[in-house]
Each structure stands twice: as C-alpha cells, then as structure tokens.
C-alpha cells in the first residue's frame, strides 16, 4: 500500500485518477482504518486529504457557510457561528463515535463511507447542503441527497473527491434538529436518524421545511411529503400526524440486529415529529 498526503486538491485528484488498483481517500480514518484492519478493504493507494488546507476550513460564503470535507466534528462544534446557525447539523456530526473519534471524524468521510445510517448525512440533506466535487474533469456541484446511491455506492466518478459542503444562507427564524434512535446512550449506529430544517414566518407559520431520514432505506432519504405536511402550518396536531405518516410511508428498511422493519418504520414517525418540534422551538428564537 502506498500512502500519500498531498497539500493540494489537484495533486490528490491526480493521484486518485492515476491509480490502477484500489484507491481510497483518508479523511479522519475512523471508518477506513477499521475496515482495513478487518480486511474489508485493502487499498493499493491511500490519499490522506487532511493536509489540504482548502478542505480543512469553514468559510462564510454567500450568506451561508462553506465547510471543508475534512473539517472534524469537534471543529464544527467549536466554530464561532456554526453551532448557532446549524445546531442540528452540528449535533448530528457530534453523535458520531466518542470524543476522540469526533476529533478525527469528518462529514466528508461520513458521506463517502456510504453507510445508510451515517448520522451527519440526514443533517446535511435537511440543511439543503450542496457538495462541491473535484475530479479530473474539473469541479461540479451535487445536492448531498444525490451523492449516495446505495450502501457503499456513490455518484462519484474515478478520481473525484468531495471537497466541501455549502450550507445555504437562510432567513431569520430558521433552525434545524437531528435525532437518532440507538439502544444505548452513546457510541452506536443509528437504528433510525431524522433531520429536520425549517423556517417560520413572524406569525409562527412554517414557510419552508426539509425532512431527511437515515437508516430506513438503502440510502439516506429526502422526504418531500413529510416537509409538505408541515409547510403552511404552525405544526399543530393534524400537521404533525401527517408528518409522521409521510415519514413512515417513505421508509423501506431492512430487518437486522439493530431493529426490525416494523420498529424502524414506527420510530421514523416518532423522530420526525420530535425533531420538527425541536427545530420549531429553535427557529422561534433564531
């Protein structure tokens, strides 16, 4: 195995595109190194992207934020403005692993690991984040919900890497929330995860919303019907009941050791309701 730690994106792309064997990008390494240890993957080339300064920065851009793909969860939490602007996304990224893992793990890695249960991905999808990809043919933007296609399968072409995420500008009275269900209190993989981002008008009516579910299908889902259920309402009982039903209707989960199909579908509705109410409460104060 060859290990390279270039300091520019172009150099990283060149290395990845030029590798005949299996090439992997190393960000925090909290998934990749464990998979290498257990012989799930045996890369011929590992390209460490942590030395590329562009990928390690959070910058304000167009009224929103551009977050480098290799920024760690701990750095998101310690940022002066992000936790206030996107509390749900920051808490999703900081549910991954333990304190020491949060000091390493990144949202770029969480997405590109290609797990349907990744915690930060529903947070990014709910936020309406756009990923900027850099590859041998230049740069392109893709919505985060269009990147993961199936477990371990991404819409990235050979040599392409996720460079950053753009969190859009948003009006006053906007906020978000992320909740996940696990049988323990920490250090576990989501049985169901749900991110909700919404905007309220001065009267408290929801004018925009995005709802995303994780671990209930082959890929994290953007559930437009669930968002429609609460847009134009003040999240009253009827709207929340519709939200729950729409969240459950979108689920196509599997049975596994962490949860059954029925349980996941049921919990998806519960989490969607609770996350929407938390986001509403935060938006009132935002």
């Amino acid at each position: 195995m060859r290990y390279e730690a270039p300091d520019t994106i172009d150099a990283a792309v060149k290395l990845l595109a030029g590798e005949a064997g299996l090439a992997r990008v190393l960000a925090g390494g909290t998934d990749l190194l464990v998979q290498m240890r257990s012989d799930v993957v045996s890369p011929d080339l590992v390209v460490d992207i942590k030395k590329i300064s562009e990928l390690r920065q959070v910058k304000e851009e167009a009224g929103g934020f551009r977050v480098g793909a290799a920024v760690t969860g701990a750095e998101l939490k310690e940022h002066a403005k992000l936790p206030k602007a996107w509390p749900g996304l920051v808490e999703a990224a900081n549910l991954i692993g333990s304190t020491q893992v949060q000091g390493r793990a990144t949202m770029g890695g969480n997405l590109c690991n290609g797990s349907p249960a990744a915690d930060s991905v529903p947070g990014l999808i709910a936020a309406g984040a756009t990923a900027t990809l850099v590859g041998p043919n230049g740069r392109r933007d893709l919505k985060v919900e269009d990147i993961m296609l199936a477990p371990r399968k991404l819409a990235l072409t050979k040599g392409e890497i996720v460079a950053s995420f753009l969190l859009p500008a948003r009006p006053a009275r906007s906020s978000d929330a992320y909740l996940r269900f696990i049988p323990r209190t920490e250090m576990d993989i989501a049985v169901v995860g749900c991110g909700v981002s919404l905007t309220l008008d001065p009267s408290g009516t929801c004018t925009a919303a995005r709802v995303s579910l994780g671990a209930v299908a082959a890929r994290p889902l953007l559930v437009e019907d669930a968002a429609k259920a609460i847009i134009g309402t003040k999240l009253n009982h009827a709207a929340l009941a519709k939200l729950e039903a729409a969240a459950r209707a979108a689920c196509k989960p599997i049975d596994d050791k962490r949860g059954t199909v029925e349980f996941r579908i049921d919990v998806a509705g519960v989490l969607a309701r609770r996350a929407a109410l938390i986001a509403q409460e935060r938006a009132r104060k935002a």
Binding site: R2, Y3, A5, T30, V46, D48, G97, Q100, V101, G103
Partner: protein, 162 residues
C-alpha cells in the same frame, strides 16, 4: 515502507515503517512504549488514547505516517521523573483501577477533557466525555471521582505555576 519522524514524549524519533503501520503499533512495537494499550483496535474501547498535538485521539485509528511532524504524548510522557502527574496520582488515590488495562487511555482522555473543560469540570461532563473509554471491571464510579479530584489538582498545580 516509508520514513516517518515525530516527537514522542519530548524526543524526536525517526523510523522506517510499513505504510499500513498504525500509530499504536508504532508506539508499542517500534518504540517499545507499551503503556498505551490495545483493547479492540476498532475505535471503541479507548485503551489506546494518546495526545497528538495536544488533542486526545485513539491511536488505533491513525496511521503512523499521518503523524509526520506531529507531537505525541503517551502515558509514559505524563509523569515528571518519579513525580506522578496529578491525574495519575488521583487515580491511585481514589482506587480508580482494578486490572489497569483501560487506565492509560482513561488518564490520557481525562487530562484532555480537563484541558478543554477546566479544573472545575462537573460530574455530568466527565461522564459524557468518557463515552469513548470502556472499563470492564472497576466500574466508573471511582474513575469519575478520581477525574474530578485530578482536575482540581491540575488546577492548583497550574495556579502554583503562575
């Protein structure tokens, strides 16, 4: 194979290692610093926690090569000669270990959490911060007590120095 240089417990070391070499293997097998333990090697148990550039990480989940030029502190680097670090002293004083396997990682995680949360860190924060360190015999009660005491002691050491 590739060459890597880093500062470990104040000393500069340079070795030629396999590119798949994990930091914990480098510390234990190449440098013979066996105070850092391996419990699971999948980032769960926390026995391998060390500080890299002042921040706690799990050394089973970092490549040695990725630590090029970095400053690493292991459990062996905490004491000042025969004088234990206040956190080590607190673990001994409060009987915060039985088998001792998790202790190096616990102490390195504790020092990091006190550096970030201050010497007055409360019990709730200590318990939450220990989510990545697993003890399978003592139970966490005395560990939490030791960390609170060690945190206060680290605070007074710092005050005395100032």
């Amino acid at each position: 194979m590739a060459t890597v240089s880093m500062t470990v417990n104040g000393k500069t070391v340079t070795k030629t290692v396999d590119s798949r070499r994990l930091l914990v293997e480098f510390l234990r097998e190449d440098l013979r610093l066996t105070g850092t333990h391996v419990g699971c090697d999948t980032s769960q148990c926390g026995a391998c926690v060390v500080h890299v550039d002042g921040r706690a990480i799990k050394s089973c989940t970092a490549l040695a090569l990725s630590c090029e030029g970095k400053t690493v502190t292991t459990i062996e680097g905490l004491a000042n000669g025969a004088t234990l670090h206040p956190m080590q002293e607190a673990f001994r004083e409060h009987h915060a270990l039985q088998c001792g396997y998790c202790t190096p990682g616990m102490i390195m995680a504790s020092v990091d959490l006190v550096q970030r949360n201050g010497p007055g860190v409360d019990e709730h924060t200590i318990r939450r911060e220990l989510d990545g360190n697993i003890c399978r015999c003592t139970g966490y009660h005395n560990i939490v007590k030791a960390i609170a005491a060690g945190a206060a002691a680290m605070g007074s050491v710092r005050q005395a120095a100032e």
